[in-house]
Assembly symmetry: C2
Homo-oligomer: 178 residues x 2
């Protein structure tokens, strides 16, 4: 398969309180690797959690995934210095992966949440976006995307929760919610 | 891997004018097959179009995909009798696949668009939902989900377009938009 060339990589943002943000990013990754593109997924905060998608990644060519975090939800604010340290390392990897230009698409999953928790600085992410190689497509997911990120993005979808089974007290189900 | 049992399958709807509906459904499929669940994706209207995800499906276990349509956008209203006939066949397959109970998740991609074009009847889809085996999870995607579908669904996310590169005149890119 000939690998198509992306002439101009854009910045996509999936935010909002509805279900489907990370799934949309993974679906996008699936489409891209179907075309022979190279995709790198970096997950903020989610490291150590158990998700179904992690068990199928190995079957997919040209897809790399790294997840960082302490395996528990961050419930304190300001977050611990350990959480900040991990998020900084995650962002550092993101910078290196983006700058390398080796990957057509770099997905920064839950980066918006990391921003909203002040684990990392918005200016640093803006800088990462501004300095990215032209052909690299960036995908930023997570609730609470800051307005500066919305402004600089080319594509923004707000996933809006209209109805959610958690409202009815149905707990997360293995294989579907995680 | 032991296949988890879904006690109670829900009805999920991804609608709205923003990018990410089909991608979210595919991401959901990826997570599910990571857990050993069986997934069937039936695509209304999209048959004959060339999408990146079609080239990677074969690598994924427990995932079946069938797409129906004439390979062109339906621009006339009312649509041709051929388009109606194809949509009816698609719905018939959907009923059979759902009723068989063999698949944990059945994704009816773009069914909302088929409904909005009056290719199939809302009552028939409501009936399909009401008669589904309890453990089957249904995922309905596409713009313009009718209010009857929203009402009966357990989970609804509206993908809202905040910004889209088409607005700036950037054409669809292979590997990303298709």
């Amino acid at each position: 398969m000939s690998r198509p060339k992306i002439e101009r990589g854009l910045v996509q943002v999936y935010t909002g309180n509805g279900k489907g943000k990370t799934s949309a990013a993974f679906g996008l990754a699936l489409r891209a690797i179907g075309r022979g593109l190279k995709v790198y997924i970096i997950q903020f905060i989610k490291g150590g959690f158990d998700y179904g998608e992690l068990y199928v990644i190995d079957r997919l060519p040209n897809l790399t995934l790294k997840a960082f975090g302490q395996g528990k939800f961050i419930t304190e604010f300001p977050p611990s210095s350990k959480d900040k340290e991990i998020a900084k390392e995650t962002l550092q990897l993101a910078k290196e992966v983006v700058q390398s230009g080796e990957y057509d698409i770099v997905i920064l999953d839950e980066i918006n949440v990391a921003l909203s928790l002040h684990l990392i600085k918005t200016e640093e992410v803006i800088e990462l976006i501004k300095n990215k190689p032209k052909h690299v497509e960036l995908v930023l997911t997570g609730r609470y995307a800051p307005k500066e990120i919305i402004e600089i993005a080319d594509l923004v979808t707000e996933m809006k929760e209209i109805k959610h089974p958690f409202q009815k007290g149905i707990p997360p189900r293995k294989g579907i919610e995680y």
